[in-house]
Amino acid sequence: MDIKNLTFSYDKKKPFIELNQLTIKDSKITTIIGPNGSGKSTLLGLIAGHLKAHSGEVLLDDVNIHQISAKERAKKIAVVHQQNEAPEHYTVRQLVKIGRYPYRNKFGQNEEVDEQIIDEAIEAASLTAEEERFVYQLSGGQRQRAWLALAFAQQSDYLLLDEPTTYLDLHHQLDLLARVEEKNKTQNQTIVMVLHDLNQALQYSDEIIVMDGGRIIAQGEPFEVMTPEFIHKVFKLNVLFFEDPNGVKHLINIK
């Protein structure tokens, strides 16, 4: 995905986002991080096509995403949001089925294939046992997985996640991220996430993009970009890295 000369603002006076050039690597996990108000979610919204840029373009396979229909776009880009709501009569399966919406046409689509894809999506989210239960009856962690399954069912090249772990406890946060990582490794799906937690961003990404004030101030391999000096400058934190027995580096905040 290529992004060129993007500008966007919420109030038409001050630009909120200004980007010259950004390339998102296919089949990799890219995470966007930055302080509050840096424009992370806005950028994700622009990439997803929810928001329209005032100038510049977002190109997917050299096609401007706004020049294709919403359904076509939905076949290429799926999004999982922070918070979601579903009417109480929806079962897990009915919810995931909505992920097949972009493939539906007036005269019935291939029912069997659809059902299989829905099965796989539910399986990938480990909700097979719950598929006939109502979404509102699930626990928070399970519910977010249902929305993840919906996105899986879209079978898109790109999967975008906007702070999907905010309302989950730590166990479920890591669980969700592990599943997303699995998707990437097994099916080469390109992942773009906005995360708050710096450690999660570091540990689950192939590429990291740091935003501040609506601009991208750094991009690259996570541990190369995120040095303690850089983190101090951008996030106003004093940190150091700790390497655990498995060789994984963790960020620790020092008061």
Partner: protein, 321 residues
């Protein structure tokens, strides 16, 4: 599932009972045999009177009740607000204004009054749409602008009552003729069918906007269509029976408590429930202190309100919580 079947069965039975009573009861009482004979053309004396005066009224109550209830249900789906009701957002008063215009200035076009009412409703809706468009018809804005519109249109109607122009608000179900009934049925049937088809769309609109947009669902357009049908149903009803409080608000809620929030199931049930409630209200209003009539609107408010409270206490659910 079983609960839904039971609810539907009971509803049909209640409807038939209310229908029977509404036809039979009145200052002139008929028995079942006379009714059947009358339906098949053999009308004489009392039967003729009943057929001329009461039948149209019964049919109007059924179609207006169904239309208003559906209008409320659709609106609630579109703007995701359980307090939504065509009256609240100004559609009803705009429709009445349209009607007032016809009656006062173009009385020869009386047959087209539902169209003028619809025109009024549409104008109100267009203003609503134009103002809330950039928010993609988000619930809060629709409600706020609607309330403002309602105030304006109601004021205009009141003002025209103060001036020398004499106008008749066609409120209530009394003194309605077959002309009125045919007019209402002819216009509303299209809206009712359209509404029933929109069940799946309403279901989609119940999900988070961001999510359905992500799968390519045309949110703005869908809302637009649902609201237009709602406006149509409310306007057409208002043209014939004026504004009747509460149906659009109460009936969908009660229906939801009984059969759940799946619009494919909810909408047909709303048709039955709306028709039954208005018919019952009208019949009770006729029979309670003869020869005086209490308007259906008042009965609806008196009975509908406490009824809703009882149901809430029993089933404890309001719009999905």
């Amino acid at each position: 599932m079983k609960k839904i079947l039971i609810a539907y069965s009971v509803m049909v039975v209640v409807f038939l009972v209310v229908l029977y009573e509404s036809v039979v009861l009145g200052s002139l009482q008929l028995n079942f045999g006379e009714i059947i004979k009358g339906v098949f053309g053999d009308r004489s004396g009392a039967t003729a009177v009943v057929f001329d005066l009461r039948f149209p009224r019964v049919l109007i109550a059924i179609f207006a009740g169904a239309s208003l209830a559906l209008a409320g249900a659709l609106l609630q789906a579109a703007i995701k607000n359980p307090l939504a009701d065509p009256g609240i957002i100004g559609i009803t008063s705009a429709a009445m204004l349209g009607n007032v215009v016809v009656i006062n200035f173009l009385p020869h076009l009386f047959f087209y009054s539902p169209i003028f009412a619809f025109a009024g409703g549409v104008i109100a809706f267009v203003i609503l749409y134009a103002v809330t468009k950039k928010y993609d018809m988000s619930p809060v804005f629709v409600l706020l602008v609607g309330i403002a519109l309602n105030a304006v249109f109601t004021a205009i109607i009141k003002v025209s009552g103060v001036t020398a122009i004499h106008f008749t608000e066609s409120t209530g179900l009394s003194m309605k003729t077959w002309e009125d009934a045919n007019l209402l049925m002819g216009f509303s049937i299209f809206g009712i069918i359209a509404a029933l088809i929109l069940g799946p769309v309403c279901n989609m609109l119940g999900l988070s906007e961001k999510t359905i947009r992500s799968v390519g669902f045309p949110v703005g357009k869908a809302r637009w269509v649902v609201i237009i049908i709602s406006v149509y149903l409310a306007s057409v009803s208002t043209a014939i029976v004026g504004s009747i409080a509460f149906i659009g608000l109460l009936v969908p809620h009660i229906a939801r408590m009984l059969v759940g929030s799946n619009y494919k199931v909810l909408l047909p049930f709303t048709v039955l429930l709306g028709a039954t409630m208005l018919l019952a209200a009208d019949t009770i209003g006729r029979m309670i202190v003869p020869p005086f009539e209490i308007t259906a609107s008042i009965i609806m408010s008196l009975i509908g309100g406490p009824f809703l409270i009882i149901l809430i206490r029993k089933f404890g659910k309001i719009y999905g919580h």
